[in-house]
Subunit: 345 residues, 2 copies
DNA sequence: TTTATTTACGCAAACGATACCGGGAATGAT
DNA sequence: ATCATTCCCGGTATCGTTTGCGTAAATAAA
């Protein structure tokens, strides 16, 4: 069952020409007579000829495809990023091959090998929350595979990176809670090894410090799967709430963490923001319709995807090895809604 | 800037063998001596040799990649479907190339050409809400490109199809509203030319008829962009609410329609379900946390994607032309929540 | 010892497109 | 008439891999 396309050979045979002549006529070479050109072009158009990209890839040693590795496609942030990548890739004649790690390092490694074996021209990636060993990525980097990191970056590898200002996002969110009267703010963070985690946690701590609130280590809990598993968020909440001084506000450092905190609160009939306020990183479209409407730090995901794709394609198409790398830092947007409304005393 | 992989030629040169011997050794052919095999395999393992898939594609006339065409990646239903497709594809050594139509027919056509020019071995697709002209799809079908439809199918093209029981989903949802005491139920549907639209609308009508409620044509409104644009849902709501006999319940036939109805109600301070009840098709994970919690008809999206991918791969790998096609119809799940709670009289 | 058979490998073509190299024919110059 | 130039076009190698065919050497059978 195949979808047989017409080749340059077929055209050559029908018109009694050589394949090289046909090839040149199609590429509008000057050394082909106008009549021959016209004949070839007319026939090619008639037969709807399209060059075989696979043959081209083999000859040119490039596949015109880029790999994208994310934790999970069915996650609004990542799907919005992919959306952006896809649009830029399509414009530039690249296709996008997607792989997911499911926050699992073994899957991440196999996905990277998979993408490499598929001869992608470059890879855009955000590491899994489990990853502490970057050796495979490092190897690909050393073998000159063009890489662009976004969101969860690896500091030790010198290449283009696209993130939001995670520090400022968390800082502003924490400050917003403080301004609204909250005095014992907890933070539920993603896996500690992630770049975004330390940036966000540092923003949280800095805001506390700046406001003369003491940072209490017991108020900082990590979720190693980024909230992907409800139970880890549940455990985090239980741990926070068993303290004598229960926190009166929470900042969630990942989409699923934030929403799972809401789910937990609903189950346990904890009122937001009366019993505990909530703000968190999220890229869901519906946060304004939640009960209560959810305050969020939102990343410009589509924009990040576009930018990452542009940087990658530029790197792929660069003649000389790229040595100056950009770290694009986009602003995060804060939406203040009911879940972090001013504390009633 | 290239990522140069080791080839069979490199191995042959180093070991002083011919490429054919190396190739056969790697494929464990019987006509290679055990010693030679061992030497080749050891070296290949050491150098982390992987066959070049592009060269293979050229020779075998297959690319081991499948195309997926959806309206929009950043849509929970479609991203869940892609998730399912990706997992099955990966298991079977296929990669997934994604394209989106953005509910636009011109983009859909160009995306299909794009996928074909990329030599995908088959395509899984859900047509755009704008599409009324299936000629391009028909052409690909006639050229023996393996196709599998899901969700929004094309009846006139004989191939595998995967959908949920849209009729029953809408029927049950409508009946649920009726049982809860609603007497003037409106339906906001997707574009009328879509298969899912007529199936869902028929389910809605059948439930009304079975319950001896008269179907009122003024209570059925279509959204040509599937609710992708807020304004069209707003227009639909205005049209429904300007009637003398305002509807007391709404069934939304697409994810974005349903959520945009909620958004409209919130803006206009229309209480759900007191002023108007709501149930709708949606695959969002958070519908239980909305205000009010939203009753939904949910499609088993991941399952649909897996099934579509399995059917497609089976078709691609079939020796003889496939002539018997399956139409897999999965059950839709109904979640009854507050937005369609029993009417208070 | 001669012949037949097996073993183990190399050669070359093929997949589709490109590009370098080269060459025949027509024209112009001397 | 001879040589050079220009115009058009064909031959062929190449990318990495597989595979049918051919064959030398080794072994087995006669």
């Amino acid at each position: 069952m195949k979808f047989e396309a017409i080749t340059i050979k077929d055209i050559a045979k029908v018109l009694g020409l050589s394949t090289s002549t046909v090839s040149r006529a199609l590429r509008d070479s000057y050394e082909i007579s106008p009549e021959t050109k016209e004949k070839v072009l007319a026939y090619a158009r008639e037969m709807n000829y399209r060059p075989n990209p696979i043959a081209l890839s083999l000859k040119e040693k490039r596949s015109s495809s880029i790999g994208v590795l994310v934790a999970e496609i069915a996650n609004s942030f990542f799907s919005q990023v992919i959306n952006g990548i896809e649009s830029v890739a399509q414009e530039n004649g690249y296709n996008v091959i997607i792989a997911q790690s499911k926050e699992n390092h073994a899957k991440e490694v196999s996905a990277l090998h998979y993408l490499a074996s598929r001869s992608v021209d470059g890879i855009i990636l955000s590491v899994s929350s489990e990853t502490t060993d970057f050796s495979v990525i490092q190897q690909m980097y050393e073998k000159k595979m063009p890489l662009v990191f976004f969101d969860r970056i690896v500091d030790s590898i010198q290449t283009h990176k696209v993130t939001v200002d995670n520090f400022k996002g968390a800082y502003d969110a924490t400050l917003h809670l403080i301004k609204n009267g909250y005095k014992n703010i907890a933070c539920i963070a993603n896996a500690p090894q992630l770049s975004i985690t330390s940036e966000r946690v540092n923003g949280y701590k800095a805001a506390l410090e700046k406001s003369k609130q003491r940072f209490n280590p017991a108020n900082l809990v990590y979720c190693n799967h980024g909230g992907l598993i409800y139970e880890e968020v549940e455990a985090a909440m239980k741990q926070l709430l068993k303290q004598k001084q229960k926190p009166d506000a929470i900042i969630g450092c990942a989409d699923k963490i934030t929403t799972n905190v809401m789910r937990y609160a609903q189950k346990k009939r904890i009122a937001i923001p009366t019993d505990i306020a909530l703000i968190g990183f999220s890229n869901l479209d519906l946060t304004d319709l939640l009960s209560p409407s959810l305050s969020v730090v939102r990343q410009p995901a589509g924009e990040m995807g576009k930018m990452a794709a542009e940087l990658l394609i530029k790197m792929i198409e660069s003649k000389r090895p790229v040595s100056e790398f950009q770290h694009a830092v986009l602003p995060a947007e804060i939406f203040q809604r009911s879940s972090s409304a001013a504390k009633k005393i």
